[in-house]
């Protein structure tokens, strides 16, 4: 098969912890591949093993069909979750330093405009905002015009606007035909950016496929959500053991809301009206990756 990256039975043990526990991946060229999972699921360990930063306990990695050679570093771009840079250098000098480490780098002007760094080129690299720093990190990952780009939680800790900026850049990388491997614990981000995802929990992949396929397969239907006050009497009494047209319900204690997952929203809404439920505060939404994760692992994603 024509894969750009393949990982077979990857295992990494730390004393007392199995960080990665028999993980397989196969990534086609030109796609954006997302590794999703809670903190501590083994996402970062996995991609740092692939990048050659840490060594695995066992397992094999194939880049374009063979084990990575010295050229691998010339052809991949890497953004770590957190990186500190060389002190007392401007953004331009930081980029130049990394630019000169590669054989066939991307022209600097092109890189600067791709990552929207024009305004901060002459500022010291520690005197820029979080979003700007993240864009600089992206630029450093792209400085060698790589074929394969690893982005480890590129938007964690950013405000919504800065996050959108990063998404735009990732979209541009995709249109250049690069393969992107991205880790995130934001479901929305994975849904927007990724063509294919793998959900990782406790060092193992528990599901993989395109986001929509996974949703269709594991989480069909919609979610109807109502506050507790909307019901004439408590839903525990109205729908004992989850019976009724609306199917099973779940109580979300903190939000004080009940959620029904149903395949037939019309029948469910009728049933609710029939028992005298106030629908003023009702919300209906389609299933998202967070539901999928809950479905698959039985625990909350953002721990």
């Amino acid at each position: 098969m024509n894969t750009i990256l393949e990982v077979r039975n990857l295992v990494k043990h730390y004393p007392g912890v199995k960080a990665v526990d028999g993980l397989d991946l196969s990534i086609q060229p030109g796609i954006c591949f997302g590794l999703l999972g809670p903190n501590g699921a083994g996402k970062t360990t996995t991609i740092e093993i692939i990048e050659g930063i840490i060594s695995p306990t066992s397992g094999e990695i194939f880049y374009k069909g063979s084990p990575p050679t010295s050229d691998f570093r010339e052809e991949v771009g890497i953004q770590f979750q957190s990186t500190s840079l060389l002190s007392f250098l401007s953004v331009r000098e930081t980029l130049e330093t990394f630019h000169n480490l590669y054989r066939n780098p991307m022209p600097l002007e092109e890189l600067v405009s791709l990552c929207q760094l024009e305004d901060i080129l002459d500022r010291y690299n520690d005197k820029i905002s979080g979003g700007q720093k993240q864009r600089l990190m992206l630029a450093m990952a792209l400085v060698n015009d790589p074929e394969l780009v690893f982005l480890d939680e590129p938007t964690t800790g950013l405000d919504p606007q800065a996050r959108r900026h990063v998404w735009e850049i990732v979209e541009k990388i995709k249109t250049r035909g690069k393969t992107v491997v991205l880790t995130t614990h934001y479901m929305e981000e994975a849904h927007i950016l990724c063509d294919e995802i793998a959900i990782v929990d406790k060092g193992k992949i528990i599901a993989k496929g395109s986001p929509d396929d996974l949703l269709n397969k594991h989480c069909s239907g919609v979610t109807v959500s109502l506050p507790r006050e909307s019901f004439p009497k408590s839903p525990e009494e109205i729908f004992p053991e989850g019976s009724g047209k609306c199917g099973a319900w779940k109580l979300f204690e903190t939000q004080k809301r009940y959620e029904f997952r149903t395949n037939n929203v019309n029948e469910c809404v009728n049933a609710l009206l029939n028992i005298g439920t106030d629908l003023s505060y009702m919300t209906v939404r389609s299933q998202n990756l967070e539901d999928l994760f809950l479905e698959l692992t039985g625990h909350q994603l953002r721990q």
Binding site: E51, G52, I53, I54, S70, R73, E74, V76, I78, F80, S82, T83, S84, L85, L86, S87, F88, L89, E93, E96, T97, F98, H99, N100, L101, Y102, R103, N104, P105, M140, N144
Partner: protein, 408 residues
């Protein structure tokens, strides 16, 4: 720097292989010669290609080395606090010593003068001959007890009683300076005729080496040692701790290129600062270098490479600045005291002198002093040059073998 070059070399690879099937072979009609021609041309081209490739590799390595070298130098010059300190520190030490040792490095001995027990003799002066002892500084006390108290606490080296005959004096048995002060006193009181039969005094000819002349190369070497060990060791450990090194691990940069850039950059900066410090001190305090400046710079550079390489060994694995700082202090302090920066090891037990030979710094101070004070040339310093070169190679080898980009 020109980046397009490497692309053209890459495309050059394609061009070369195409030429091997080029016009000179096309004309051959028979299968045999043509085949021969092809393979011969191929072999030739392949050789040329490999040669070109290795040249390209050298260029790439040099480019990566320069990139880190330039970044490191910029960082050094922009870090104002550390930069300023590198200049100020040796100046302050030299200036301090120049003031303290205005008498060309001689120490003064303090002699307390206390009143006689006999109130009648209280205003009798000391024998006139004592005033000629320039190394004794006389301090008068109205109260005898204060004088004795100060002698006990080593504030005074000797106490004399006014109006006593024979002259009464006290020293502290535990003070080495007291013994020296005593002999100065006794020497002044001897009849010169008595001494004439026993000893004969002569002075060495030629230029005198003042203590400050002797000290100056030591101070420069010490400054180089601190700057080399802490400047390189600390920076690498900090970058490993923060993850800046981890980022480099993800690039084609090799540890050899990175470490060489660190060594060369620091050597260059040490030369730069110390040439300025040297010039400043030479101007202010009128130092002379008897030997050639070229030899001095050569020895100093080799010395800095050996010491920086020692720093690389310390910084090879550590990811805690506190740990690194402890180790560096453990190395620098004994090295400073056993490398004749402040005092000569002449007369110390043999094992101390043997042990001191394992420190690179002693070979630097020794070599610099011989060049500056004795006018030795680099040819006279074969031993120092050999030892420092060997230490540089060994330390650098150990440092690069042990080196890790990341904290484990």
């Amino acid at each position: 720097m020109h980046f397009g070059r490497f692309r053209s070399v890459r495309s050059g690879k394609v061009a070369l292989w195409q030429i091997s099937f080029g016009p000179e072979c096309q004309s051959a009609t028979l299968a045999g010669p043509r085949k021969y021609c092809q393979s011969a041309t191929l072999a030739l081209r392949k050789e040329a290609f490999i040669a070109k490739q290795s040249e390209t590799l050298k260029n790439i390595m040099l480019k990566r080395f320069c990139s880190i070298f330039i970044a490191r130098n910029k960082e050094y010059f922009r870090d104002r606090a550390a930069f300023g300190w590198n200049f100020l520190f040796p100046f302050l030490i030299i200036a301090g010593f120049a003031i303290m040792f205005q008498r060309d490095g001689h120490t003064e001995y303090k002699c307390g003068v206390i009143p006689s027990e006999n109130p009648k003799k209280i205003h009798e002066p000391l024998p006139h001959i004592l005033k000629d002892i320039t190394l004794l500084k006389f301090v008068e006390f109205q109260n005898r007890d204060i004088g004795f108290e100060k002698l006990k606490h080593h504030r005074l080296d000797l106490v004399l009683e006014q109006g006593s005959d024979p002259l009464r004096y006290w020293i502290s048995e535990t003070s080495p300076k007291g013994t020296v002060a005593e002999s100065l006193l006794l020497k002044a009181l001897y009849d010169p005729g008595y001494l004439a039969d026993k000893v004969s005094r002569e002075s060495v000819k030629g230029r005198q080496i003042h203590y400050i002349d002797w000290l100056f190369p030591g101070i420069l070497a010490m400054n180089m040692m601190f700057s080399g060990l802490f400047g390189v060791g600390y920076v690498i450990v900090r970058y490993r701790k923060t993850g800046a090194l981890k980022r480099f691990k993800a690039t084609p940069l090799t540890s050899f290129e990175y470490l060489t850039a660190q060594v060369v950059s620091r050597m260059f900066l040490l030369l730069f600062t110390n040439v300025i410090v040297y010039a400043g001190c030479a101007f202010l305090f009128n130092f002379h270098c008897q030997g050639s400046y070229f030899d001095l710079i050569l020895l100093f550079s080799l010395g800095s490479v050996s010491i920086i390489s020692l720093g690389l060994v310390v910084a090879a694995r550590a990811s805690s600045e506190e740990f690194a700082s402890g180790i560096l202090n453990m190395i620098t302090w004994p090295m400073m005291f056993l490398s004749e920066v402040w005092f000569s090891l002449e007369g110390t037990p043999d094992w101390v002198r043997t042990f001191s030979q394992f420190f690179p710094l002693i070979h630097v101070t020794e070599g610099m002093r011989r060049i500056m004070n004795e006018g030795a040339s680099i040819g006279d310093l074969g031993f120092q040059i050999m030892v420092l070169s060997m230490m540089s190679v060994i330390f650098m080898l150990i440092g690069s073998i042990l080196f890790k980009w990341t904290k484990e």
